[in-house]
Amino acid sequence: MIFRELGLAIWISFKTSGLAALIASFLAVPAALFLAGREFRGKRAILLVNQTWMAAPTVVIGLLFYSLLGRSGPLGGLGLLYTQTAMTIGQVFLVLPLILGFSYTALRQVDKRARLTALTLGATRRQAGWIVLREARFALLTAVLAGFARAISEIGIAMMLGGNIRHATRNITTSIALETAKGEFRNGVILGVILLVITLGTNILVQSGLRTKDGE
């Protein structure tokens, strides 16, 4: 029975954090492409805000969304608090600046001639943008995986927005907290090891992505 519960917690972690990393990537990568390809007034301020946001504690983001999604909050009517959706929303905002920052750096490192070459060979502006993304594909994948690793290992948002509800929003990190509080250290350690294996696996993927990029 305990294994079924642990399995469910792992599945919820993968589902909410994977979705969060994916949604954040769809927002962050185009934004990074825009920022990397243009110089404009206010760009430095945007990057500074992003960098600051990157370091925001998860409980602060959890608190912010709790106040928005809570019954008395402006979005309370949506009834999202203590759902997997709320966890995903919070985690999107947690990993968005991380993926944006990593992607921005990756895209800035793409040779400026790549876009020009694509254009002179007949690409439209959109196609040239795709070429720039393709040239940075391994570094971008690294950014997405780093975002996923950050989301799956956080607890503040999962606890505050998910509420640690059994079979509904209980994920790996909230399970560890609960098992430890109950005195079930063995279960806590098992889950901790599983979480470490997942983040280790993600990091290995990130590293191999970087190596491939270097080796190309």
Binding site: R113, G122, R134, E216
Partner: protein, 345 residues
């Protein structure tokens, strides 16, 4: 001229948001199908900028640029269509990550060329640049010269109406450079491709181009300022010469006779203080005065030396300073025979 390709009228360009005061101004220029135009001039003259404009990668802010009878800048679709007919190979070309074959197929895919035709066209283009069978080679493993050739093949495979080349043989050894020159000549003759290329090598411009545009500080310099002399060449069996002015004789290598045009590379003329000596110092040596000195780059100057003949000479600034050359100074100007290129009109 098989149909007009480019017509430039009163074209102006300046770098946007740049502290540089550089501006390109071309009063008029016509390029026809199958024609080869060389852009020559010192560094910073505007050759690469003009190529970017002709490739529709930089938009002129004034004047008219007519391409095959229309104005591509009128719409985004027009610009993309024009770029697909005028392909630029830059001085330091960029190859996309992957294989040589993938790079060559890139433009074919964009143009909707059926995939079944790719191998044949890619193979033929690689043959032209002497890289046969290298389709599967990773671009990371290529030398600088090979990168240049792959970039050229990547443009040629698209069979564009215009090929724009920024110093196309700069990274190649002499033999391969000549081979690429032959390819460019062939393209102009057989495929009716207009070729516009920049070069520092004046004799290359002379060998390849139907017309030469000399640029200095973003402006077209009159063709006559290139020190071109027409006349009847005489030969004594070893040397050929023409006499462009009474008492003046320009000797050039070879055994050409009859009416020829001599072209002298402004960068290959030696100027030294006259130190009391006057004219008639022998063949290829002319006396004159420096009547104008312009700094054309941080390290070189363009001098006008007027005497019986007027020459324009480019010299490194350190030579100008070392020799104590200044305005109004009496100088002797010497042409090395190997700096004189002569050909029949």
């Amino acid at each position: 001229m098989a149909g007009e390709i480019y017509r430039l009228e009163g074209l102006h360009y300046a770098y946007p948001d740049s502290a540089s005061r550089f501006a390109l101004e071309i009063e008029s220029l016509l390029v026809g199908g199958g024609e080869t135009l060389a852009l020559v001039g010192p560094n910073g003259a505007g050759k690469s900028t003009l190529l970017m404009i002709l490739a529709f990668l930089a938009r002129p802010y004034g004047g008219r640029l007519v391409f095959r009878g229309g104005n591509p800048w009128a719409s985004e679709a027009g610009v993309v269509a024009a770029r697909r007919e005028a392909v630029l190979v830059t001085h330091h070309p960029y190859l996309f990550k992957g294989t040589v074959g993938e790079n060559l197929a890139f433009g074919l895919k964009l143009r909707g060329v059926p995939e079944a035709d790719w191998p044949k066209r890619v193979g033929a283009a690689l043959d032209l640049v002497e890289l046969s069978g290298r389709e599967r080679a990773n671009v990371q493993a290529l030398s600088a010269g090979q990168v240049q050739r792959v970039a050229l093949a990547r443009a040629v495979v698209l069979e564009p109406k215009v090929l724009l080349l920024d110093e196309p043989t700069a990274a190649l050894d002499a033999a391969l450079g000549l081979r690429i020159e032959a390819v460019l000549r062939e393209l102009g003759r057989e495929a009716e491709t207009a070729v516009v290329f920049s070069t520092h090598d004046f004799s290359q411009a002379r060998r390849l181009a139907d017309e030469v545009l000399y640029l200095s500080e973003g402006r077209r310099v009159e063709y006559g300022h290139l020190n071109c002399f027409s006349g009847t060449a005489s030969t004594d069996g070893e040397r050929s010469w023409i006499e462009p002015a009474p008492g003046a004789r320009i000797v050039f290598p070879g055994e050409r006779t009859g009416h020829v045009t001599c072209v002298i590379d402004p960068a290959s003329i030696d100027v030294r203080p006259a130190d009391g000596l006057s004219g008639d110092a022998g063949p290829n040596v002319f006396a004159g005065k420096i009547t104008r000195m312009d700094l054309i780059s941080p390290s070189s100057a363009l001098l006008r030396v007027s005497g019986d003949l007027t020459f324009r000479v480019t010299m490194p600034m350190e030579d100008v300073e070392a020799k104590g050359l200044s305005l109004s100074k009496a100088v002797l100007l010497e042409l090395r025979p190997d700096s004189v290129d002569a050909g029949h009109d």
